[in-house]
């Protein structure tokens, strides 16, 4: 690989990544040479970077599949779609961090460029076509978020949360890697598409149990990122310990990246891999597809996640922990189309992640606003919210309704599609449907419990002042939630026009 080959790559397709990288580096440099006072501009800088990257991403929407750097970096609809979500999410998170007049002191430069590097990692995960790059991206995201969680050095909750996150994350990574190593061993390839074709070989079908084990190890390792059972238990502690914007980042961007890698890394290479079960066809005995034979286990994991998330959420008093469990439950919902192997899995997952991004970020923005006055936000601190700040109350209402999947919100359409994906496949996935049904009803209790606080309970406290950033986030997310809920076509047609998700499979 010489210079000329390097030059002839279509580097334009990596433009968003480059922009984020450059912004991160510049911010870190500026951070070195500036005083605390003038650091507010960093936020704007970071935002500008993200914005620019988004613009470039939009410019790329129309060009087809591009893969460079020896097939390691791949830009297809799948990548674009998920990158888009991550960029938007990060943008909102940065807006949340927009400091209001009174708290200039705790502006930390590293916070901004670490978020950007984390984002960069996520984007790499979305659009890399090689185990190695995937792994690097994953770790870039993980390492940056470990530090982000513990960024309040002096707060021992933050330290503890960070440490827990790190230990769990490390083990998860190790498990994933272990699985990957076997995949490499059996295929001799690290490129996903090469693996895909190698999977058809006899060696693989002879060691098909090994490949299934590898698959499951990778999967279990990866669900750590999306906080699905049984790898969910870190989430509440970490969410609680971290600063709210960071929590928002973990629960939205990092989760999106997690789904991106799960979908790509588990669907692309293994789509033709042989499974454990035998099927008798007219032209002789063959093995069912691996995805088919592991489906029940994925389904069980999804169901467990939904049940655990919702049931434990019922008993939470701390708002952040509550939403941690709620986001666990939502991870379970999003796993359903994957577990159902629905033909619309990509559309559904993407749409739900979009809805989830809006409503969850909004909810965390509200928590952030409430956090400003007191350290730990409990359910009770929402009491009488409608009197204290109607704006927060109403936006929060929209987010809660959306999370609960009540009509006229994005969340409802998302749930509707998930149900469709579970019932639209043959055979129909009744267990998944039932689990989601149960989860939804359980979730009513704690979401509407917040209504009780906000509208029914009296409050003696003073009105809440919220920063411009939070206001912006709340306004945008709330509006978007409603708009997508009432006119789903806005999002649905966007998918149909720009994202041909099936690209992800072909070379």
């Amino acid at each position: 690989m010489n210079m000329s080959t390097l030059m002839q790559y279509n580097w334009g397709s990596m433009m968003p990544e480059f922009i984020i990288l450059i912004t991160a580096v510049t911010i870190s440099l500026i951070d070195l040479f500036t005083t605390k006072k003038s650091r507010t501009m960093l936020v704007w800088f970071a935002l500008a970077g993200v914005g620019l990257a988004t613009i470039f991403l939009f410019l790329q929407l129309d060009d087809g599949v591009v893969s460079i750097l020896g097939e390691t970096f791949r830009l297809d609809s799948f990548a674009k779609a998920f990158k888009l979500l991550m960029l938007i999410g990060t943008g909102f998170v940065l807006l949340l961090g927009l400091p209001s007049k009174d708290d200039l002191k705790d502006v930390k430069g590293e916070y901004y460029y670490l978020i950007l590097t984390a984002l960069l990692g996520g984007m790499m995960m979305a659009s890399s076509a090689d185990l190695i790059t995937l792994f690097v991206g994953l770790e870039l995201l993980s390492l940056s978020s470990y530090i982000l969680v513990g960024i309040r050095k002096t707060n021992h909750f933050a330290n503890e949360a960070a440490f827990k996150y790190l230990v769990n994350g490390g083990i998860a990574t190790a498990i994933t890697l272990f699985g990957m190593s076997y995949v490499y061993g059996l295929s001799g390839e690290t490129n996903l598409y090469a693996i895909q074709s190698a999977m058809a070989s006899d060696i693989v079908s002879d060691n098909r149990f090994l490949i299934v084990f590898a698959f499951l190890m990778i999967f279990i390792g990866l669900i750590f990122k999306i906080a699905a059972a049984p790898f969910h238990m870190w989430a509440p502690d970490v969410y609680q310990g971290a600063e709210t914007p960071v929590t928002a980042f973990l629960s939205v961007v990092s989760k999106t990246a997690g789904f991106a890698i799960i979908l790509r890394l588990l669907m692309v290479p293994f789509v033709f891999a042989p499974g454990t079960g035998k099927v008798i066809t007219p032209e002789g005995m063959s093995f069912e597809s691996l995805l088919v034979s592991v489906r029940p286990y994925i389904a069980i994991i999804a169901i467990l996640t939904i049940i655990i998330g919702n049931i434990i959420a019922l008993r939470q008093l701390n708002a952040k922990r509550l939403f941690a469990y709620s986001s666990i439950a939502h991870a379970g919902y999003i796993l359903i189309p994957f577990a159902a192997l629905s033909e619309m899995v990509f559309e559904v997952v993407w749409f739900y992640l979009l809805a989830y991004l809006l409503m969850n970020l909004g909810a965390f923005a509200v928590i952030h606003a409430v956090t400003k006055e007191r350290e730990d936000v409990t359910i009770a601190s929402f009491a009488g919210m409608f009197r204290r700040s109607p704006f927060i109350a109403i936006t929060m209402t929209i987010f809660l309704l959306s999370l609960a999947g009540i009509p006229f919100t994005a969340g409802f359409i998302g749930k509707f599609e998930i149900f469709m994906s579970a019932l639209g496949t043959e055979p129909k996935r009744y267990f998944l449907t039932a689990a989601m049904l149960l989860g939804t009803v359980l979730s009513y209790v704690y979401y509407f419990g917040l209504f009780v606080q906000m509208y029914f309970r009296p409050s003696d406290k003073k009105p809440i002042t919220i920063s411009a950033g939070v206001t912006a986030v709340l306004t945008i997310t709330a509006t978007a939630t409603l708009v997508i809920g009432i006119f789903p076509s806005t999002a649905l047609t966007f998918i149909q026009e720009y994202f041909q998700f099936m690209e992800v499979f072909n070379q």
């Binding site: 021992h156 440490f163 827990k164 490390g170 498990i175 190593s181 390839e189 690290t190």
Partner: protein, 104 residues
């Protein structure tokens, strides 16, 4: 050419992995926990390198992969220790059992 079969390497790696896991799940000292995680990652490296040499369609990729893993592992260790130090500053302990203020 040594005549050690591939499976031997794999078993070694598996044992290594399990030791690491055992350490990570049981040791009370946070530092040891971090080290154990490193152990697990190294198990992966053994796998990769073994496969790269004797595996199906043996190729250089495995070794490249392992290089990346080593680097990342180093970074992870660094971050881990940094966090641990911060924790130690605030709590004056590295005992994992005492890191349970976040619960319920």
């Amino acid at each position: 050419m040594s005549s050690i079969p591939l499976s031997a390497y794999l078993v070694t790696a598996l044992l290594l992995f399990c030791m690491g896991l055992y350490g990570a799940l049981t040791k009370r000292n946070a530092v040891i926990v971090l080290i154990s995680i490193e152990l697990m990652l190294n198990a992966v490296n053994v796998n990769l390198v073994a496969f790269a040499k004797y595996g199906v369609g043996a190729s250089i990729r495995g070794q490249v992969f392992s290089l990346f893993t080593i680097t990342v592992a180093a970074a992870e260790a660094a971050v881990g220790l940094a966090i641990l130090i911060a924790l130690y500053r605030n709590r004056a302990t590295v005992n994992v059992d005492e890191m349970n203020t976040l619960k319920k």
